[in-house]
Symmetry: C2
Subunit: 200 residues, 2 copies
Amino acid sequence: MPQAVQRRYHHGNLREELLQRAEDLVRDRGAHALSLRELAREAGVSHAAPSRHFADRQALLDAVAVRGFERLGAELEAAAGPEADGSFDARLVRVATAYVRFAVEQAALLDLMFAAKHRAPDGPVRTASDRTFAGVLALIAEGQARGTIAPGDAAAPGLVLFAALQGLASICSGGVPDGRDIDTVVRDAVALLLTGLRPR
Amino acid sequence: MPQAVQRRYHHGNLREELLQRAEDLVRDRGAHALSLRELAREAGVSHAAPSRHFADRQALLDAVAVRGFERLGAELEAAAGPEADGSFDARLVRVATAYVRFAVEQAALLDLMFAAKHRAPDGPVRTASDRTFAGVLALIAEGQARGTIAPGDAAAPGLVLFAALQGLASICSGGVPDGRDIDTVVRDAVALLLTGLRPR
DNA sequence: CAACAATGGTGTCAACGTCAACTTCGGCCG
DNA sequence: CGGCCGAAGTTGACGTTGACACCATTGTTG
């Protein structure tokens, strides 16, 4: 008469399940709506069990942020094209589109990610963030090498490009303006940026 | 023998004091650290008194956000130059610098402001935000009228400029890169943007 | 002057994060 | 093989919080 699905004392994979559920919850209700006790209930575990894996609520949020950076990094890398196919401009547009798309679809998660990063100037979150954007930096460096992007101070064009992407993502996450879709907005924006970034 | 400073039953200006203290608290401890009860204690009133002025915690945060937009709007307007003195480029740099400076000095407040705006696509927060940036939009329109900014689709250059400013603010609020100071970073970035935004 | 709407106070409740103390499990070492 | 021990989960408690219902005090107005 004991149920076939009898829960054993040890969950076996609590940490992973907590992270997964937390990510989902952050995505569609925001980080502020995350409750350790609710998470524990959903995972079928006592209210204090999560503390075995995360020192406190903030530690869990940080871990979720790190995961977010890893996912974003993977998507950016995929968009950059592993075999570098297509022109430089096309690849840049693809990367930018991937970024903005991520920002729109996972707005709350992105907020959490940057909040966690800004809260601790060093630490694992910052490391994850740096690794995430390393690919984009490499792409820009390649553009400079090819002469498609103005050389000189390497930091300046990268900063502007990053800033525009970041801002575009922030704006679009609060509703894409007018009736235009994300792809054309990003394409137009990148074109406009490139015209300035190219050596004349 | 009753103290000279005897508190009267009615505070007299509770709403304003709560807003002021909340703004300070958000600025240097973040929105998540704001507690209605702590606020009430500091103001010397009972824990439920704030509810007479703000329906719930979020309503208070929204009000703080509106105030933030009004302050930011005033600073941007001041930077734009009431009598429009200086060249267009110089005014643009001044506005951008004012914006980024605000973002750096009041990072937590800016976060709150955009969070509140994104949470409610309509409502007073959005209205305040629109009014804040109306001045910047007017400046861009003027640039297009003067021919300093490429005409055509009016929305595109404005969006890119906005996005870059927004992103620059976001990035700089998490620590200005390298050892460069805000002013030069902003000036370089705007110059780079303009090169692309100008009609060739 | 009496009624009334604002404004503030008191008491209570459920939920939360965190901690300490206890229990169960599984692997490892003697 | 058996005992031990640390990892993982549980239970109970404490203090704090936001929200709500109900009561008290104002001062304004008819």
